[in-house]
């Protein structure tokens, strides 16, 4: 048997995996056969414009179907749960202000965060507790996870539009919403 092409190994590895893999994990499988970073970028280049893309979210790599093909994949089981408006708003606050305590989220939303809302976000793996705030009661602080980036197709948190941008553009332009 001839030695396999290292690019094929990376391709097969990522194809087989359900969860995104870090460059380090790919390198571990490759061993001395090649440089994971170089091969991943080459593979990403080869798949650009195809029906399946190699995406890098938060430093983790995974194959995902191209977003513009979604209408043709309607028959695929849509496992993602719909997030309620409250859950999305809570998620946005965590994404923008992390690490943030539940109390801080409530202060910003002006309404209690239902136990179920945070639970749902934790269950879907989009947020996780990280550390405690050194204030009385030492409340848990919440952050977004790598899965959050994968879920929304973000390369990093830097991809989130800045709050000032969101605020700036025609905030109260009557035409722009509702």
């Amino acid at each position: 048997m001839t030695a396999p092409d290292p690019l094929s190994i990376v391709e097969a590895l990522l194809f087989a995996a359900a969860e995104p893999l870090t460059e380090a994990a790919v390198q571990e499988v490759l061993g001395e056969r090649g440089d994971a970073g170089t091969l991943l970028r080459e593979l990403q280049r080869q798949y650009a414009g195809r029906g399946v893309r190699l995406e890098c979210c938060g430093g983790r790599w995974a194959f995902r179907t191209a977003a513009e093909l979604a209408p043709f994949l309607a028959r695929i089981d849509r496992r993602a749960r719909r997030l309620s408006a409250a859950a999305l708003e809570t998620l946005a606050i965590i994404a923008y202000r992390q690490p943030v305590t539940r109390g801080e989220i409530e202060a910003l939303r002006g309404v209690a965060v239902g136990r179920g809302t945070l639970d749902l976000l934790v269950e879907t793996g989009l947020v996780a507790p990280r550390g405690r705030k050194e204030v009385p009661g030492r409340p848990v602080m919440w952050v977004t996870t790598p899965r959050f980036l994968d879920h929304f197709g973000l390369a990093s948190l830097e991809d989130l539009p800045r709050l000032e941008e969101l605020e700036g553009a025609s905030l109260f332009n009557p035409a722009d919403d509702r």
Binding site: F63, A80, L88, E89, Y96, R109, G110, L163
Partner: protein, 248 residues
């Protein structure tokens, strides 16, 4: 059930659904939007009036109002009373600051809500982008070595005790027939050159299923070994027909 409320009178133009609000701040934000001015230039006095008017209407329609709506209402009323007084007569000297803080909070909430909307429109995984539908399990290769110590190995050796001096200990003969035994038996039983069925040469005391299978398998292997050595001939008419054996 849907409750639609029209903003009363002079400020008309906004239509809101109480059920659509997840809290008083959101309602305040919506009312502030109706002023159609920059949030920094928002009139807290006007906002407070609208909010209180809204709650009055909601009450008349007997809509359930959560306590937090009323807490904000009380706070707004207080803030309004302070703002109406000349600064030197206020009990809350920081009323202007409180008003600015409220405007700031509303701005931040508004921005975050737009962030949420932006997120909702992303090509989400499992909605617009899909992972591999049939992920494959990677094979597991163990490379951890053993955790045994030399002492454990030597204890194991000591436990085996009996087999000192390089001599094999014979255990009671198992009821299963070894290939060696079958070989010895076949060599002994086969005489003359007439064909005999292999199954007829199995020992009669091996009638239970498992020993019989072992006797058959071992005898078969032994017959192949004898054929390889050129001592016997084997013959089978067709698949599954009786296997015939004779000395060469």
């Amino acid at each position: 059930m849907e409750h639609r409320l029209s903003g009363a009178g002079e400020r008309a133009g906004f239509v809101v659904e109480l059920e659509g609000f997840s809290g008083p701040l959101e309602l305040l934000l919506e009312l502030a939007r109706a002023q159609k001015v920059d949030l920094a230039a928002i009139s807290i006095l006007a906002l407070a009036d609208q909010y209180l008017a809204y709650l009055r209407r909601a009450r008349e329609l007997q809509l359930g109002l959560a306590a937090e709506y009323l807490v904000i209402a009380a706070w707004l009323l207080y803030l309004k009373s302070q703002l109406l007084l000349p600064p030197e007569k206020r009990e809350a000297p920081d009323a202007d600051q409180m008003a600015r803080d409220l405007a700031e909070r509303l701005r931040l909430l508004d921005a975050v809500r737009r962030g949420a909307k932006w997120l909702a429109e992303r090509p989400r995984l499992g909605v617009a982008r899909f992972p591999r539908g049939m992920p494959e399990e990677r094979p597991l290769r163990r490379d951890g070595g053993a955790a045994a110590t030399l002492a454990q190995l030597l204890r194991a050796r000591a436990r085996l005790g009996g087999c000192r001096g390089g001599e094999l200990v014979r255990m009671p003969r198992p009821r299963l027939m070894t290939v060696e035994a079958a070989l010895e038996r076949l060599s002994r039983l086969l005489a003359g050159r007439e064909w005999r069925e292999l199954s007829a040469l199995l020992p009669p005391d091996y009638m239970e299923l498992l020993p019989r299978r072992s006797a058959l398998a071992s005898s078969f292997v032994a017959s192949l070994e004898l054929a390889r050595r050129g001592e016997v001939e084997l013959h089978q008419e067709r698949p599954f027909a009786p296997l015939l054996i004779r000395r060469r």
